[in-house]
């Protein structure tokens, strides 16, 4: 393993933490601009309807109302994140002919205060012709079902197929075959900051947007195209973002409406969603129906898999196409699989659009795969961990048509979690109502497939160094709470040997930071932006190295070290110069030209999916109350390979947060819907686990050194959110004999599964 600078692997406290905990951090809703107007939006009360007539005259006449817009007033340019496939771009900022879910935006108002805007919204008259609505994927693909989008026959907007190896032949000759259908539900990100935007007009028809997003560059491009103005007339600005988890990675209607009305009125326009609106209409994780047939040889080797998935996409594509692709990819990650067939369909329904959410198709795909591994292990007489080890990927393995796995600590993770959880001992001494379950995962470190069709590199960094001993990083990467503002500075400081407080950061400003960055999703930021930074710091070092060679008259064979705000000769540390002094001398030598360098990263020759893969395994220990069906998670044990952790505390934070989300997904969170309406749109009834619900947790990191990652790092963000559902599901089975194939595992399902609920 390579030796890293000492700042790598340290638990550097989050640099943004003091501002956030003292309330000084500026979130979008904190911004107030002179002359600012307040935007409210009218949304469809119907799940599926044709718009016959809209009358905004009364709203427009209300004193204090400065603008009212409907779809017909806008350029009507469709948008969507998959620019590579223009026909997948199926959204308009405001509905024109049809509304397709309860919450579909129909009109927007800008007024002097929120109350007037709200009143104006209530004065807009819309005449609808209600259309039959579809709420399940099965109904949507049925023959003769009404079409939600005319162009998508059978209500399927995208199909993804993977096929390699002799799947049918393997099933025919297999020792053991099982097939199951799993149903998983939609859940929400429940980010702490509801969606918010503020747009201000700028000279020359330009517009500046502060918005709660995890993809400023995508918002910039799509906002420009929907407004019909040049890309660089839109500036998306840095602001503190209170979480995203995949729910804030697209252009959203209010971003368009604020900008459009700001340009029309010449005044800033602000929009803020309430929690109730966010829970009712916001993006969700895809509910899915997953049919999976797997075959094993007698020695426990997995030999074939047939995986057919229907994704409940809701009314628009959003990030659904990516989820459809990735669900198929995750269907054969982690384990060696010689024959695989995947058929994934993204299906429209008249519900709020599903989109990306932490894990991006993986929590669903692995719930199916891992549940089946545990079932197969039991029926074939294997220990569930042994069966996984038999099939686990190893370093150098190739995922057909996808990637080569350059580092893989999967088997070690499985062994470590076995030891950590006391697996063997506890399984020997089983207690009634008590169970242990295992699940594993593999995840990506950023995506390769360029669905946004960016013309720039995937990540970029600019580094400037000064003779006061400081450095300044410019990066479009956005910290949405996950910590890159700290980790990226750590990478820069480590490579230049600076103390971290010497590094300033300007982030997430599309007008000032180098082009471009695809955003915070797919666990890509540390690896991709880290690599871009290291390319830039390498160039900076090349500007400084000549200074020391000249100063100390060094032999060609000498090498320099950058540490403790100094640069020195490795073989003779007494020959040293402060970083500040070196920059000063270099600046003189360059006759005043500042020391500035850019670095870029785009994964190349890395297959179509990801430059690097993380692995891990988790054991859940549960106690099930046999009379009430309540599942109590006693403890979670995790062992995972995230390469070299850059910031240990940040990795721990990701793990804790992942367990919290995994608990909610598995046990308590679900949307109760009737006729396309969400009935539980408060945190009282949409039950996100709280700090008090968190079980104790133990974890161990299996370190590998990923050659493609900065200082050996790879993904540590989303992967950990994957295994919890199947681990708890397996543990509940061990405790009760009830095998859950349809999340969430509610007390009622447990009791019914035990035959105890009439």
């Amino acid at each position: 393993m390579k030796t890293n600078p000492k700042l790598i692997g340290q638990s550097v406290p989050r640099l943004d933490a003091p501002q956030k905990v003292t309330g000084q951090a500026i979130y979008t809703d904190d911004i107030k601009l002179p002359g600012m107007l307040y935007c409210k939006m009218l949304t469809s009360p119907l799940p599926h309807a044709r718009i016959k007539r809209i009358d905004v005259s009364k709203a427009r006449a209300l004193p204090g109302v400065k603008d009212v817009i409907i779809g017909e007033d806008t350029p009507k340019v469709k948008y969507g994140n998959w620019r590579l496939v223009p026909e997948s771009q199926d959204e308009l900022p405001l509905a024109v002919d049809k509304v397709r879910f309860v919450g579909d935006e129909v009109a927007a108002v800008a007024a002097l205060d929120p109350e007037i805007a709200e009143k104006a919204i209530s004065l807009i008259e819309v005449e609808y012709e209600e259309l039959p609505a579809l709420y399940t994927v099965e109904d949507s693909i049925a023959d003769g079902a009404p079409l939600i989008h005319e162009e998508s026959k059978g209500n399927v907007s995208l199909v993804r197929k993977i096929n390699y190896g002799d799947v049918d032949g393997s099933f025919a000759s297999a020792h053991y075959v099982r097939e199951d259908t799993f149903r998983v539900h939609a859940v929400q990100h429940a980010y702490m900051e509801p969606c918010a935007s503020i747009a201000a007009p700028d000279e020359g028809g330009r517009v500046t947007l502060w918005t709660s997003t995890q993809t400023p560059y995508i918002v910039q491009c799509l906002l420009a195209s929907t407004l019909g103005i040049p890309e660089n007339h839109v500036r998306v600005m840095k602001v503190a973002v209170g979480g995203g988890f995949g729910g804030k990675m697209e252009l959203r209607p209010w971003e368009f409406c604020c900008a459009f009305m700001a340009l029309r009125t010449g005044r800033p326009v602000k929009f803020l969603w309430s929690r109730k609106e966010d829970l009712s209409f916001g993006r969700r994780r895809h509910g899915m129906t997953l049919y999976s047939k797997i075959a094993f040889a007698k020695d426990g080797k997995l030999i074939a898999k047939d995986f057919q998935v229907l994704l409940d996409g809701g009314a628009y594509n959003a990030m659904g196409p990516t989820a459809t692709f990735l669900c198929g990819t995750f269907g054969n990650m982690a384990y060696r699989l010689p024959a695989y067939r995947y058929f994934g369909r993204h299906v429209y329904t008249n519900k709020p659009p599903a989109s990306a959410m932490r894990g991006f198709g993986a929590p669903q795909a692995y719930f199916a795969m891992e549940s089946q591994f545990s079932m197969a292990a039991e029926e074939m007489g294997f220990d569930p961990i042994d069966l996984r080890i038999i099939n686990a990927m190893e370093e150098g393995d190739v995922i057909p048509e996808v990637a080569t796995v350059s580092t893989c600590g999967f088997k070690e993770s499985l062994e470590k979690v076995r030891e950590l959880s006391g697996w063997d001992e506890k399984r020997k001494n089983r207690q009634p109502g008590h169970g242990l379950g295992i699940s594993a995962y593999s995840f990506i470190s950023g995506g390769v497939f360029n669905w946004f069709n960016t013309k720039y590199n995937f990540s970029a960094a600019e580094v400037r160094v000064y003779d006061d001993g400081t450095a300044h990083l410019f990066s479009m990467a956005c910290d949405i709470g996950q910590g890159p503002d700290t980790v990226l500075r750590q990478i820069l400081a480590a490579d230049l040997g600076l103390s971290i407080d010497k590094v300033r950061l300007t982030a997430m400003d599309t007008a000032q930071t180098p082009k471009a960055d695809l955003g915070s999703w797919g666990s890509r930021v540390t690896l991709m932006n880290g690599n871009a930074i290291l390319e830039a710091t390498k160039k900076i070092k090349e500007m400084l190295i000549p200074v020391l060679f000249a100063e100390f008259d060094l032999n060609q064979i000498q090498d320099l070290a950058f540490e403790d705000d100094h640069i020195f000769v490795k073989s003779n540390p007494k020959k040293r110069m402060s970083f500040a002094q070196a920059v000063y001398k270099a600046l003189r030598g360059r006759r005043g030209e500042p020391l500035v360098a850019q670095g870029y990263y785009t994964p190349r020759n890395k297959g179509l999916v990801s430059p690097a893969f993380s692995f891990g395994a988790q054991v859940a220990e549960v106690t099930v109350d046999q009379d009430t069906g309540l599942v109590k998670v006693d403890k979670i044990y995790t062992a995972h390979d995230c390469g070299v952790p850059i910031n240990k505390k940040a990795v721990e934070g990701q793990l804790e947060g992942a367990i919290q989300m995994g608990l909610g997904y598995t046990l308590s969170e679900q949307f109760v819907m009737k006729d396309g309406r969400t009935l539980n749109s408060t945190f009282l009834d949409y039950k996100v686990p709280t700090a008090l619900d968190m079980p104790p947790s133990e974890s161990v990191e299996v370190e590998t050194y990923e050659p493609e990652g900065p200082f050996g790092a790879k993904e540590a963000g989303e992967g950990l959110a994957i295994p919890t559902a199947a681990a708890i599901g397996h543990a509940v089975y061990e405790a009760t004999g009830y095998r859950c194939k349809d999340l969430p595992i509610t007390p009622e399902k447990v009791l019914r599964g035990l035959g105890k609920l009439k």
Binding site: T628, L679, E748
Partner: protein, 294 residues
């Protein structure tokens, strides 16, 4: 939505508070913790011009227990005050439990027991444990004072017999007759920081021969109001308790519940859980009572 405009009054005596309430009548509400009222104001469910705060009324801010007086909870006593007051955990463990696990830490430091009762939510957590202790709601209004047994207080979901010009002055409960045991159990999807989907309280007092001379069973969130169930109680009273009798009483309580299907639970599950919780609460109460007799 943002809050509508209203005036806040901060009387410093009970008399002032009553005068203000009479002066503004239907356009006023009493505010103490505000943990139920303020969300309703924000949501526009309630629109009023005057809020009369009881936070500065010293006569209402107390909680005490003595063997003679029993439990006396002032109208402004906060949930956390009651949970921690001397004598409460020992003599009214169900109430202490309710006051220390319901809602959230922040809400328990703001909200009051009287407010929880006056709000009259079917799922109110303090009601069932107070019902098994034969609590009485003592109110004061323009016409003077009156005492209402808690069992007669609720009139339906969100409704009670409290007049809009009256204020809850105290909630009282007699000191439990020894040996005695009681418990309140609640069930919800989250273990904590959650509203109860089912709540059951039980109390068993024994005579010298080990027979049940008093049984109380009450339930919450499974009927239009929190309520007792005399039919179920009668199955144990006067008898030497055993598993069969406890199961029968629990079954009777379950049968007397009439829960609804809602976003929190199905009616069938709730009804069955009433029986489970009742059996557990009775078993635990009996154990406590028997332990106390030794």
């Amino acid at each position: 939505m943002s809050l509508a405009h209203f005036e806040v009054h901060q009387p410093t005596s009970l008399a002032q508070a009553l005068d203000l309430l009479s002066a503004h009548r239907a356009d006023a509400r009493v505010l103490c913790g505000g943990t139920d009222l303020v969300p309703k104001l924000k949501a526009g469910v309630i629109a009023i011009g005057h809020l009369i705060s009881l936070k500065r009324v010293p006569e209402l801010d107390h909680v005490s227990f003595s063997p003679d007086q029993g439990l006396v909870i002032g109208g402004a006593a906060r949930l956390s005050d009651v949970a921690e007051a001397p004598g409460v955990a020992e003599n009214y463990p169900g109430l202490a439990h309710a006051c220390s696990v319901m809602a959230t830490t922040q809400i328990r430091h703001m909200g009051t027991v009287a407010g929880n009762i006056a709000n009259a939510a079917p799922s109110g957590d303090t009601a069932a444990p107070l019902l098994v202790h034969d609590a009485v709601i003592n109110v004061v209004g323009p016409g003077g004072r009156r005492s209402i047994p808690l069992a007669d207080f609720f009139a339906g979901p969100g409704a009670s017999v409290l007049d809009s010009l009256e204020i809850i002055e105290t909630i009282t409960a007699p000191a439990p007759q020894k040996p005695c045991g009681s418990q309140y159990l609640r069930l919800s999807a989250r273990s904590l920081v959650d509203i109860a989907a089912v709540g059951v309280a039980a109390l068993i007092a024994l005579d010298g021969a080990g027979r049940v001379n008093r049984c109380r069973l009450a339930m919450a969130a499974v009927a239009p109001t929190p309520r007792r169930c005399p039919e179920a109680e009668a199955l144990l009273e006067g008898k030497t308790p055993d598993a069969g009798l406890i199961a029968a009483a629990a079954q009777a309580l379950s049968a007397a519940s009439c829960p609804i299907d809602d976003v929190r639970s199905s009616a069938a599950y709730r009804q069955q859980m009433v029986g489970v919780l009742a059996r557990r609460a009775l078993e635990h109460s009996l154990k406590l009572a028997q332990g106390g007799a030794q």
